[in-house]
Symmetry: C2
Subunit: 246 residues, 2 copies
């Protein structure tokens, strides 16, 4: 029996919504989740506003097995993710002793002031577990199924590398891609029939267009080779038939 | 008095959530909205599942002045956006006479069969207005404040170009960027004080990190030059002071 594990992502930051920063984290998380057998089911992007963040966290954390957030855990006034997560869980947001000590030692070693702003990065909901940050020390954190990570892509990726081994994973979605030289209008009918005959698969059709030419990538996905293979063969046969007729 | 106009975006497609396709439309919509003075306040990505699409449309369309959707309006079985929008509004989803005639003429001119799959692209909620598609004919559509567009970036962009002149726009957010050679930990305290003194602005701090060096882009945003300028000067002075002290 296939095991299904689901996840959602919450991106926190005005800069993504204003277009100033182009997100690079959605595609990375999606790739990693697919690779390990976790179904990313929803992504939301919200501004740096506490009510919005709290509402999104509470909507998503109860609905999916995991929630991953990015952004808003730095030292400046617009970094309000730790407070928002604490509020979502009804927890106090305090300096975490271990994070405080790590950051204090880090800045001392670099001969830098451990400023009030830098101390903010030691704040997290009481009792949160750390997510190690091998790049810039300040840890992310986890409360229950909510993993709170940095928005800077290199740090997000490093934190995610530390989270992945801790996750319960499901039966991986297997996939097979069939290149199709025809547009969707040509294949739509027969492809729908194949989908109907193979209900344990999800058959996707991704239209491509460049220089006046249409073609399609047909992707068959399933959680077992036994389900995947007959559907893949059916799709390949359909494309071959159409090529013969063309 | 500043006029505020808000928008949300809904991206429909398994391929974005699986990582197979990397989204290019969020950044484009965000840039365009910022340029014309519409505040993009939320983005969601949902899978090709009717219940999810309907729920997201109904959550977003009542909350924001505009909702823009991308994806799921092609000819294949996994393109269920038209049906989902119709369901969200309680409207029947029919062949639209004008869209049907346009597509029929287009395929006739190209000597191609007007297949059942291609006919699907003429379906929309009854009474919907068209959004012209100069690239591949099949129109997007609008029902009330919901604009339904293609997911293929070139087609999405062309459709959006046709939508923009029809939108009510607000007072544009002006912005000024101050390059800051210091990390967020150094500027966090004084920057928070400046934000407090300039409540009509939104001051964002965007950490940059590469090759072991941190720096920051500080962005001051406001809806009038009168609000923006004093805050920009205060941020610049702060950076200059810190540079002197360093």
């Amino acid at each position: 029996m296939a095991q299904i594990v689901t996840a959602a992502m919450l991106i926190i930051g005005d800069e993504i919504l204003s277009g100033r920063t182009k997100d690079k984290n959605i595609g990375h998380l999606a790739d990693v989740m697919t690779m390990i057998g976790v179904d990313l089911k929803e992504v939301r992007i919200v501004p740096d506003e506490e009510d919005e963040i709290v509402a999104a966290i509470n909507a998503l954390r109860v609905r999916y097995d995991y929630l991953f957030t990015t952004g808003g855990i730095g030292p400046t006034h617009d970094d309000i993710t730790a407070d928002s997560v604490a509020k979502a869980f009804g927890l106090p947001c305090d300096y975490d002793d271990r994070a405080y000590a790590m950051l204090e030692a880090n800045y001392a070693a670099r001969g830098m002031e451990f400023s009030e702003a830098r101390k903010r990065m030691a704040r997290m909901p009481r009792g949160a577990a750390h997510i190690d940050n091998p790049i810039s020390t300040a840890p992310g954190f986890r409360v229950e199924n909510v993993h709170v990570m940095a928005g800077v892509p290199s740090i997000f990726q490093a934190m995610l590398d530390n989270v992945v081994p801790t996750l319960r994973t499901g039966t991986k979605m297997l996939s097979a891609t069939v290149h199709c030289p025809f547009g969707e209008g040509t294949i739509g009918g027969p492809l729908a029939a194949i989908q109907k005959e193979h209900p344990d698969t999800v058959i996707g059709s991704y239209p491509k267009y460049a220089d006046g030419t249409y073609w399609t990538e047909l992707v068959v996905r399933a959680r077992s080779q036994e389900a995947l293979e007959p559907a893949r063969i059916a799709v390949e046969s359909m494309v071959a038939e159409l090529a013969k007729a063309a």
